[in-house]
Symmetry: C2
Amino acid sequence: MEVVTTVQEMRQAVARARAAGARIGFVPTMGALHEGHGALVDASVAECDVTVVSIFVNPLQFGPAEDFHKYPRDLEADKAFCQARGVDFIFAPSEKEMYPEPPRAFVEVEELTAGLCGAFRPGHFRGVTTVVTKLFHIVMPDVAYFGQKDYQQLAVIRRMVDDLNFPVEIRGVPTVREADGLAMSSRNRYLNPEERRAATALYRGLTAAKALLEQGERNADRVRQRVREELAKEPLVREQYVEVVDADDLSQVSYIDGRVAVAVAAFVGTTRLIDNIVFDPSAERTE
Amino acid sequence: MEVVTTVQEMRQAVARARAAGARIGFVPTMGALHEGHGALVDASVAECDVTVVSIFVNPLQFGPAEDFHKYPRDLEADKAFCQARGVDFIFAPSEKEMYPEPPRAFVEVEELTAGLCGAFRPGHFRGVTTVVTKLFHIVMPDVAYFGQKDYQQLAVIRRMVDDLNFPVEIRGVPTVREADGLAMSSRNRYLNPEERRAATALYRGLTAAKALLEQGERNADRVRQRVREELAKEPLVREQYVEVVDADDLSQVSYIDGRVAVAVAAFVGTTRLIDNIVFDPSAERTE
């Protein structure tokens, strides 16, 4: 495994691999790697000849009041994690390498970013789509892997890739959960033990919603209400949103007659967590 | 020469050329080709192994009151023009091929698009940067050629490519002019004979500005005033703007101590024309 820190070296490394006929898989991350990232890496290593993991805490996707400065950074642990999983290249550029000048060019996806997290994190998705565009142009992967845990991000990236004809395939990888159901997240390490216990309310809410849906409930408000009941049981948990949205365009749904995502965001103490499930009434199967 | 109309065929044609080791040159156009485009094509044919010319009148870069519907279209003449110049591929997609869904993802360059044409054509540069992003992703050229006649467009594209790490080199090609100095433009064909004569006022203004600058004038307002005097002599010409801007970031300049562009936009009858010169006080040379 090689750790690369400049755009030029990364381009050269990938160009060599591509010239040798390799299929390039790419997993963009902000580091602080956990088993959720592990599932993305495993998928890439299984499907591609060369796997590149980027580790870059992107300032552009954090709001001024958000946790950019305290976001966990542990490059040594991340290196060991990637090495053990068969990653070929880590791309770990500095902020100066990624933004040598104050950025003026941005990629924006409209409508899909208006609701859910986008409504509470103005500029967040613009930061994500802009940095992913840069990373795609640097790595030029054949396939890129994103977690379903960040459901809106995955939908936004898919739309960006389709609309702008990026020559890359996007794969969504199912959410990896702790034994008690909490979705893996780098931010889970902010939680104290009491908060950590309370944080399972998100999954319990989604599990209750799933049960309702599988029993045939199609009224989105009743599904949302069921999630809220579970969140309300935990005094440490403060809901930010519970929404039922079209699984592709993320528009709000009132009657469920197609594939939907049930998505939740909540503060547990001062830590903001998100989670979701996807339900397809025709398949009668919940992801 | 081959004329390709689908994204998939274009990708395959370029992939074959690239696999054979070819350097790919790209000239994006809206068709109605003239000697200005010819200079771009000639540069590409001279420097690259394979030249792709796209011909697509991009609705996204026209305002609702602009000339999208009457914009000249003549694919047969354009084919003959490209064939004669040694073009390898024309990419001439339909609107449906380029925008199968209403677009939600856009590329935007801020600040550089606020002034000059951007101030009078809201959304124009967003349309340009978005379609050029799409075309770059489809063609994946090594080098792309843009005319200096559309000076702001060239500066905006350069900034987009730098900021977003597009793996492409951008070449600016000097403006090609008619014998009387009028900058070549597909829109010149809108002019009636009287307007055609009056239209030389833009170049006469810029030529007068150039003479002033070469005599040592460094006050931008006096340079602008000189251009205006020439425009004012023609009753058929109505100035939209005359600006002196930094040649790279396009910010307004009052005292000229670095490379600047003197840029003008004016209506001649109902036809909007633009032109510019670049002046570098250290080189004492005007482009």
